[in-house]
Every structure is written in C-alpha cells, then in structure tokens.
C-alpha cells in the first residue's frame, strides 16, 4: 500500500508539471506588446556549447535594440526553446515557438536540426535564420529559410588558394570524420578546390566522431610524403589526431574549417597543434576590427568575465540584427512582409563582416579569417577578403 502512495505522488507531480508548463505556454500575449524572437538550440545535451553561445549573442543584440528604443516602437523579447540536442524534441520545440507567435526562429548552428526545423517554419511561414548551419541543402528547403554563416563553399577555395600560392603546399593528406555531415560536406568542397589550385591528395583517411584512437590512420599517413594535413572534422578529433602524429614522429601541421575552432583544440592538442590553421568567419582581431565589431567584443567581455566571444555568439548577434533591420525596413514584424526586405540584404555590415544574400538566399560573407595556433592561442595569420 505504501508503494502505491509513492506512485500516486509521482503521477500527481507529473500532472502538476504538465499544468504548470501548459499554463506558461498558453498565456495569451497580445501581439502588440513585444516582438518575439525564438531561440532554437540545445542548452543541454551534446551540443549545448553551440546553443549557449548563440543565445548569449542573441541576448546582447536584443539588449542593444531595446536600449536604442526597441523595434517599431516595441520591445524585443527572446523566447527560449531548448531541444536538449535531441532531434525529435527539436521538432516539438520548433512547433512550440511558432505557437508562441515568434517573428522569427533563430538558432541551431547544427545542420541536422536546422533541416528538421526548416519544413515546420516554412509551412507556418515563419523565417528561420540559422546562425551556423553550414551543411549543404539547407536554404533549398524553403524560401523562409536563411543562414548568416560563412559558407565553406565560399571559404575553402579562398583558403586553398592561400595554401597553394603563399605557403607553397603541393601535397596533402585529407582526413575526414565519417558519420559527421559537416566533415563529409567540407571534404567534398575541398577536393575540387585542391584540384583547382594544383595540390595533390596523397592519401585519404577516415576517422569517426567521438573516437580517440587514431594510431591506425596515422600509421598509414607515416608511409607518405606530404606538406600538410587537411582536416575537415571537429576540434576534439583534430587535436587528438595531431597528438598521435607527433607521437609517431610526424611534424606536418593541419588546416581545416571552423569545426576546429575551439579552445579545446589547443587545450587537448597542446604542442601538437602549434602552427595548425583554422579559417573562420569571425575572429577577435582587435587590431583590424571595425568599430562595430570592437564594440561587440568589449561588451561580450564585460559580461563574461573577460572571456572572448566566439563565432557562435557573433553569428547569433548578427542573426538578430539582420532580422531586426529587415523588420525596420519593412515596417512590419510579419514574416511574410519583412521576408521581402531580408532577401534583398546587400553589403550589410555586421560584427562578423559583410553579408549579402545571393539569388539563392545563400550568404556571401567577407572576409575569411585564417587563424593559427600560436602559444596556445588562436592568432590571426591572415585576413583574406572574398572577391567574387
């Protein structure tokens, strides 16, 4: 009998929880008070890092807008939707944001979840602005789907050109993380670029995400001669891969995309990643930064114990600002209306550089920052403008 009481208590607690959460989402907000912007991302789970940083950037943008008098005379407010890095939950969360009448959904830097949220936003005619989904086939999912990140299709060729012409690389080893869409897609972009600028791929190796033993692949690499490694995966594997290379006595450096960007790269990789190169659409480069960017960096540091902002927070900031500017231009927070203005964005200046949307709504961003690990820090090696 005693046990049953616990059970009832459990059920009662859960139903109470339902009521509480149900009430929260059901409250009727009159559309006139505020303009709501939805955040879709993981505050918990595997990809929480991206989600938390994106949200920080968004919150700073909203603060700036509200301090400057709001948007169309209204306050802007963020509605948070945490999907716990879980795909089937992401669908419900997106749906929930839409029922809360957000003017736009901003978020998830991961391509998979963006693709999942896209059809829901599209069919409800709500703008989805992903602050980082770099994979292929994203904006094709509908004309309400946007992204504001540096595309690898733009950056990788520019960087390859630099490797070939300035660093005189002739031969490379190409390492892909199979099972990781980001990495596979980046590899498929690098291959024609390497070919175009006359760099030969002497060996291709595959690794797995969350893997930590690369001795087999590195042993295979050791049999070849090459100038450097093109690594298309994430920083965790990249750092461990370089460690294994040094362990086996190989001294080449690697170059890769912004998947390698994270302090973990040198925290895990230590000396092994010194000299490794990473390109990105945003870098804390106080010497060359424009006023707007400097301002963002300072504000971020003031709020976060002097920590430096990363790509995700900067893209989150720009995403909100892009939407806000389109709303301002259209004088309406209705997605079906301001979308027209958003599409026309040309040479828009954000904290991450200049953004234009091309005919397919793909962002063309300039410049590309090439960073280098130096004394356990990312230092800007060169800034390459994108001319196209």
């Amino acid at each position: 009998m005693k046990r049953k009481w616990y059970l009832f208590l459990l059920v009662a607690l859960m139903s109470a929880a339902l009521v509480v959460s149900g009430c929260g989402s059901n409250e009727k907000t009159t559309a006139g008070d505020t303009i709501k912007i939805g955040f879709l991302g993981g505050k918990t789970g595997n990809h929480a890092h991206y989600g938390i940083e994106t949200l920080k950037g968004m919150q700073m943008a909203v603060e700036d807008i509200n301090n400057a008098g709001g948007l169309l005379g209204k306050k802007v407010e963020i509605v948070e939707g945490d999907h716990g890095s879980n795909s089937s939950e992401a669908a419900s969360v997106t749906q929930k944001l839409i029922t809360q009448k957000v003017a736009a959904v901003i978020g998830d830097p991961t391509t998979g979840i963006t693709k999942l949220a896209a059809p829901i936003c599209q069919s409800n005619k709500v703008v989805l602005m992903s602050a980082g989904a770099v994979g292929t086939g994203v904006v094709e999912l509908g004309d309400y789907i946007f992204r504001d990140c540096l595309l690898d299709a733009v950056a990788a060729p520019v960087v390859t050109k630099y490797l070939a012409e300035d660093l005189k690389w002739k031969k490379v080893a190409l390492v892909t993380t199979t099972g990781l869409p980001y990495s596979e897609s980046l590899t498929s972009i690098f291959k024609p670029a390497l070919d175009k600028y006359g760099i030969e791929i002497v060996t291709e190796q595959n690794i797995m995400e969350k893997d930590n033993n690369f001795s087999a692949q590195v042993t295979a690499l050791a049999q070849k001669q090459f100038d450097g490694v093109i690594f298309t995966g994430y920083y965790n594997e990249g750092a461990l891969f370089m460690k294994e290379m040094r362990k086996q006595g190989l001294q080449q450096v690697m170059a890769g995309g912004d998947g390698l960007l994270g302090k973990e790269l040198y925290e895990i990789g230590e000396e092994a990643v010194e000299g490794s190169m990473v390109y990105t659409g945003f870098a804390v480069d106080t010497n060359n930064a424009v006023e707007k960017t400097k301002d963002f960096i300072e504000k971020y540091q003031a709020k976060n114990n002097n920590a430096q902002p990363d790509m995700f927070s900067a893209q989150g900031y720009d995403a909100v600002m892009l939407i806000a500017d389109a709303i301002k231009a259209a004088e309406s927070a209705d997605p079906t209306v301001y979308r027209e203005k958003l599409v026309q964005t040309k040479d828009w200046k954000g904290v991450t550089g200049t953004i234009s949307f091309d005919a397919n709504r793909e962002p063309i961003k300039s410049p590309v920052y090439l960073l280098e690990v130096k004394d356990k820090q990312f230092a800007v090696k060169t800034v390459i403008p994108v001319t196209d």
């Binding site: 046990r3 059901n26 669908a91 029922t99 999942l116 896209a118 292929t136 869409p181």
Partner: protein
C-alpha cells in the same frame, strides 16, 4: 469545453501527441516481441529506421503513393526481422538482447555509409503526410491486432514460449517459427512507426535511430508493464511526454528523468500495469459501487 478546443487547436500539443502516437506504435510492436513472447530485443529502433528510410526513399525517388510506401516500410522492416530472427532467435535471454543491439548498431553504420540514404547527412525534404488522425487510427488498429493475436491460438503459443519454452515445444508449438513470426510482426509495427516518423519530422538521419532510441522504446514497454497492452499505452504516454512536462526544471530535466526511471522500477518492478488485469479491476470497482448503492 473551450479549453479542450484550445488544446486541440494548438499545433505544439498536436505535434507532441502525434509523435507520442508514433512511438506508441513501435512500443506496441516491441511489447509483442518482449512482453508477450518474452524475447529480448535491444535493437527495435533499427527496424524503425528501415521503415523510415524505405518509405522516404520510395516517396522521394519513385513518387509512389504514401499509403503504399507506409505499408512497404512495414513489410521491409518485417523481412529484416525474419532475416535477423532465423539465426539469432536460437539464442536466448541476454545473448539475444546483445545480438539485436549489435544488429541495430550495424544497421545504423550501414545507413551512414550508404549514398542513397544521404549517409550521415540524413534525408531532408520528406513530404509531410503524417497527421494525428492517421497516427491514432493506426494506433487503434495496432491495439486491436495485438488483442486479436493475444487471444488466439497463435498468441497462446507466444505466451507459452514466454512462460516455458521447453514445455511449449512439448505442446507441439514450433517455437523458433513462432518467435520469428512474432519478431516479424513486431518489426512490421516498428517499420510503420518509422515511416510515420519520417513523414512527420520530414528529416531523418541514422543518428535518430541509435541504441538510445531502442532503449527508450524498451523503457516505455517495461515501465508500462511487460505484456500488458494498456500498460504500454500508459508507459509510452508518461515517458514520451515526460521530457515536455519536465521542461520547467530546465537543465535538470534529464537528471530527473534518469532518477524517475530508477524510482519507477524500484517501486513497481513489474511496471505500472504489469500483472494488473484491468477488466478485473473494473469489475471489482463496479461490484463495490453496486454494493454501496444497496
């Protein structure tokens, strides 16, 4: 009344109820395999993925009608159930469990390495065909099928295998064949569920159907009460909705979810409705009610 109307006009609630229904179909299939026939299966999500990919690929490349694709998703999943079942159902208990788990992982890795399924990128742009009415219609059909099976010569054979396999054999039941059949039917429902999932979420990737999803479905069945059909319904409803209920505790959500699993098991080791005959409970209730009236 208005509250109910509000509830059903809120797409967010519709969405989570629909996805719960989709999981319920898979869970009912697993209940047939694990609850009624007593065979461990730790790779149920793999059959969901087979159904999901089959139906999505047919829709995207051959443009065949949705209902046909849905059905084919179930049938192909059932065929794989048979294919896995014949060699592995000779194993028992945990050995069968770990083999099915291995099968699930192999299926996932194969999907990652296959071009036409989009590899690890997954498949996007699957048309939305699933809606709440269709899902619950299939849920009802699934429940009816399970009741029909449970109360038939075939179903008695399955229960006999669960209770005592050697005695079941001695009763003239071809145990291997029956187990494979149960596996096929369970996988069929998983395949249907997967196909519905694909046409609801509109994007699938191999990672959506890993072993954690398999265990999630097993959770629904065990916590509801093995072998009990209402139990599976209750278990799935509670556990599939729990992460949504628990949203208010934010990042402590999964912490509480994990603790709840342990608590539920320690307080009701046979599951919420395990060993409870609802008809009996209802009769007792009515009986009592009558007596009080007199």
């Amino acid at each position: 009344m208005e509250a109910i109307f509000d509830f059903f006009s809120n797409p967010y609630y519709i969405q989570i109820l629909t996805i719960t229904g989709v999981y319920l179909i898979a869970a009912l299939g697993l209940n047939l395999i694990t609850g009624i026939t007593g065979q461990f299966s730790f790779g149920h999500a793999a059959f969901m993925s087979i159904g999901a990919y089959t139906s999505s690929l047919l829709t995207l490349y051959l443009h065949t009608p949705f209902f046909l694709n849905l059905l084919l998703g179930g049938i192909i999943a059932a065929l794989f159930g048979v294919l896995l079942g014949f060699p592995s159902l000779r194993l028992t208990g945990d050995y069968l469990g770990i083999t099915t788990l291995g099968f699930g992982e192999i299926v996932r890795v194969v999907f990652i390495n296959t071009k036409i399924t989009g590899g690890a990128f997954g498949l996007a742009g699957i048309p939305r065909e699933t809606n709440i009415i269709l899902v619950y219609l299939i849920v009802v059909l699934t429940i009816i099928s399970l009741y029909l099976i449970k109360n038939s010569r075939f179903g008695r054979g399955l229960v006999a295998i669960r209770e005592d396999e050697i005695a079941a054999e001695a009763m003239g039941i071809n145990t291997l064949f029956y187990k494979v059949e149960a596996f096929a039917v369970g996988s069929f429902f998983a395949g249907i569920s997967g196909a519905l999932y694909a046409h609801l979420i509109q994007y699938i990737s191999p990672g959506d159907f890993g072993f954690s999803r398999s265990f999630e479905i097993l959770n629904f069945v065990v916590i509801g009460g093995l072998g009990s059909i209402p139990g599976t319904v209750v278990g799935t409803a509670i556990l599939a909705l729990a992460p949504e209920f628990l949203r208010f505790v934010q990042e402590y959500r999964m912490l509480i979810y994990g603790a709840l699993m342990v608590l539920m098991m320690t307080f009701r080791p046979r599951g919420l409705l395990g060993g409870v005959d609802l008809f009996q409970v209802w009769r007792n209730f009515r009986h009592k009610g009558l007596r009080e009236k007199i």
